[in-house]
């Protein structure tokens, strides 16, 4: 796949469904005490992950944030090792040391989810620097939320990417919330105004329209590859669930979260149906996703706990474990 090719809408649906089913299962596993720590779900935001990642090639790199399940799966992270990781097992992508907030996969250029708001931005900038220096033609992308725009390192990263004309795609998932506070009360600027102040070409789109996301991302990635320099894409989207699982969302109007007409999956399904795609094909995306998730969860449940000594040995590359 080269990034310029458009991915078929049915494939985008399959990706979104996989993310959705994986996360809904995680919600259940979390409620049942099978997932330690805390998890942030991207239910309602799958269109962004699916649309953007389908515009990236295997050599392109991706940095993510705390709400990174969808980004990771869309970039191609193995589903079984995804569940193994989040359930804290030895065969997890990160050997059970990171969990939900740190899923990563070097094999598919996934540089990691990240527990520090904003931290993915300079990492993507550095990755883009590597692509530029090595003249690999690859692009680095980074997902971050609207809340992350308040962090100073966002500014430094935009500036550095702009002056060095680095091949980086900044993707802001604007869901209107920073944890329990509406971002409107936290940010004076609009996302695109910030990017544009740094002379970064910026677009803002409906992030719940996966086709629109995909088209915009493809166009921007191809501009980055041909013309050079960073691009910025704001995807307006909806955080359907709480900030993390277990968040009672008392601060939030029930209506806001539940506008089902915004659901990127439902929207694409309706569109496919209207375009004459057979109902069975549409339905199979869901069925297949559930089957894959079932299998992955079964495998993950059977996974062994990590061992402490193995963990100690991975603090450094080549030194002995220390007591």
């Amino acid at each position: 796949m080269t990034a310029a090719d458009s991915v078929a809408p049915l494939d985008l649906l399959r990706t979104m469904r996989l993310i959705r089913e994986a996360e809904l299962r995680l919600a259940q596993l979390f409620a049942d005490g099978e997932v330690p720590g805390f998890i942030h779900l991207s239910v309602g935001q799958e269109g962004v992950a699916a649309g953007v990642c389908a515009a990236l090639g295997p050599a392109d790199t991706l940095a993510s944030n705390h709400r990174g399940h969808g980004h990771a799966l869309a970039k191609g992270l193995d589903l079984e090792r995804f569940f193994l990781e989040i359930m804290g097992k030895a065969e997890g992508m990160c050997k059970g040391r990171g969990g939900s907030m740190h899923v990563a996969d070097a094999a598919v250029g996934m540089l990691g989810a990240n527990g520090i708001v904003g931290a993915g931005l300079p990492i993507a900038v550095g990755s883009a620097l590597a692509h530029q220096v090595k003249k690999s033609g690859a692009v680095a992308a980074v997902f971050f939320g609207d809340g992350a725009l308040a962090e100073g390192v966002m500014h430094e990263s935009f500036n550095l990417a702009s002056i060095w004309r680095l091949p980086v795609l900044f993707v802001c998932e604007n869901n209107g919330w920073s944890e329990f506070s509406p971002t409107a009360r936290q940010l004076a600027a609009t996302p695109t105004a910030l990017a544009e102040s740094h002379k970064i070409i910026a677009r803002s789109i409906d992030g719940n329209d996966v086709i629109a996301v995909h088209d915009a991302a493809r166009a921007l990635v191809s501009e980055i590859r041909s013309a050079g320099g960073p691009r910025f894409l704001e995807c307006r989207t909806t955080r359907v669930r709480g900030h993390f699982e277990g968040d009672p969302q008392k601060y939030r109007d029930a209506v806001d979260a539940a506008r089902s007409e915004d659901d990127p999956i439902g929207r694409l399904e309706r569109r496919l149906a209207a375009d004459g795609v057979p109902a069975a094909d549409i339905k199979s995306a869901e069925r297949d996703a559930i089957a894959r998730v079932d299998a992955a969860v079964a495998r993950a449940r059977a996974g062994a706990a990590p061992t402490f000594d193995a963990a100690l040995r991975d603090v450094y590359a080549n030194t002995e474990a220390r007591p």
């Binding site: 330690p36 804290g88 990171g98 740190h102 527990g115 520090i116 920073s178 990590p306 402490f308």
Partner: protein, 324 residues
């Protein structure tokens, strides 16, 4: 006397300080309308209003930097950095500004500000949401660092921190927030820098603080069954720390163990040990043994984190080792 949770005790201390002094203001991420990520600041916005209790953007550098400017201009800001791991983003304001302003400006400015830093593991929050970095702050002249371990101290040290004319870091162990304990109706004033003998004993001294106080007490109970009477000294304040109390205890027991949740290497315990290996050398009848986290990031998986955090067995074993 009432039974409250550790987090509620901090809440009460904040409320009482704000009621007593109009110049006390509160800001941080989600501390106002949402009442704080751990509920510690619940109700304060309603009670004290939107001028004095404010939600900030996700801007850790500006939060502490603004606290510095506010403190230099007549307020007593109390700010929260949601997890101590994120203080990595506030270090310039804390270390180069807050800590040095009094000294560097020749004593012209007081910096009455408080930074609350929830630290520690135990909730499988992983490598970037569990760290104990208090040793960094204790190394910085101009900062004070306290770490309450009991409900009463949570109240008293928070009040003392706010009343203090210097910048004070209040380190709060996240795993303690839900712990219940007695809060006396009227609290004695606590002086920053005074340790508390949590349990007297004659055979060995365990110096500790924060969440490891209870773990050390459990270790002491276990040791008592074998006839070993360990004295548990809760530092309460890490900078300054109560050298006199630790030395006095060592002079009684002649054996020293230091336990904390932070990484052992270059942690708070290193300073206590080093100082006692100097001024307390003649009192020592055995090696100084430290118990802390191993030299690795805080791991996520339940089994890993459980093994990572010091427990009563490891502390008791350390006491046995120095007595051997």
């Amino acid at each position: 006397m009432s039974e409250v949770r550790f987090g509620q005790a901090i809440n009460r201390a904040l409320a009482d300080a704000m009621a007593a002094d109009e110049s006390v203001v509160l800001f941080g991420e989600d501390v106002a309308a949402p009442g704080g990520p751990f509920g510690v600041t619940r109700g304060l916005l309603d009670r004290f209003g939107a001028e004095r209790v404010r939600d900030t953007p996700i801007s850790e550098a500006a939060i502490v930097g603004a606290a510095v400017g506010a403190a230099m201009s007549g307020l007593k800001p109390v700010v929260e950095i949601m997890f101590m791991d994120f203080v990595t983003l506030s270090m310039d304001a804390l270390v180069n500004q807050a800590a040095k302003a009094r000294f560097m400006f020749g004593g012209q400015y007081a910096l009455p500000m408080v930074v609350r830093l929830p630290h520690g593991g135990g909730i499988n929050a992983g490598p970037q949401h569990s760290q104990c970095l208090e040793a960094w702050l204790a190394h910085v002249p101009g900062l004070k660092v306290v770490c309450p371990a009991t409900v009463a101290d949570a109240y008293a040290l928070t009040r003392a921190a706010i009343a203090d004319p210097d910048p004070v870091i209040v380190v709060e162990n996240k795993s303690l927030y839900a712990v219940k304990g007695e809060l006396p109706e009227s609290m004695p004033n606590v002086t920053i820098g005074k340790a508390d003998i949590a349990r007297p004993g004659r055979d060995a001294t365990i110096v500790t603080y924060g969440a490891m106080r209870d773990v050390s007490l459990a270790a002491a109970s276990a040791l008592a069954k074998d006839g070993i009477e360990a004295e548990v000294v809760d530092l309460r304040s890490l900078q300054p720390w109560d050298e006199t109390a630790v030395l006095a205890s060592l002079a009684r027991t002649h054996r020293l163990v230091i336990a904390h949740e932070a990484v052992e290497a270059f942690g708070i315990g290193a300073e206590i040990a080093a100082r006692m290996a100097d001024i307390g050398f003649d009192e020592l009848d055995g090696p100084i043994v430290r118990v802390g986290a191993p030299f690795m990031p805080v791991p996520f998986a339940k089994e890993l984190e459980a093994r990572y955090r010091p427990d009563a067995t490891r502390i008791a074993d350390a006491v046995r080792r120095t007595l051997a």
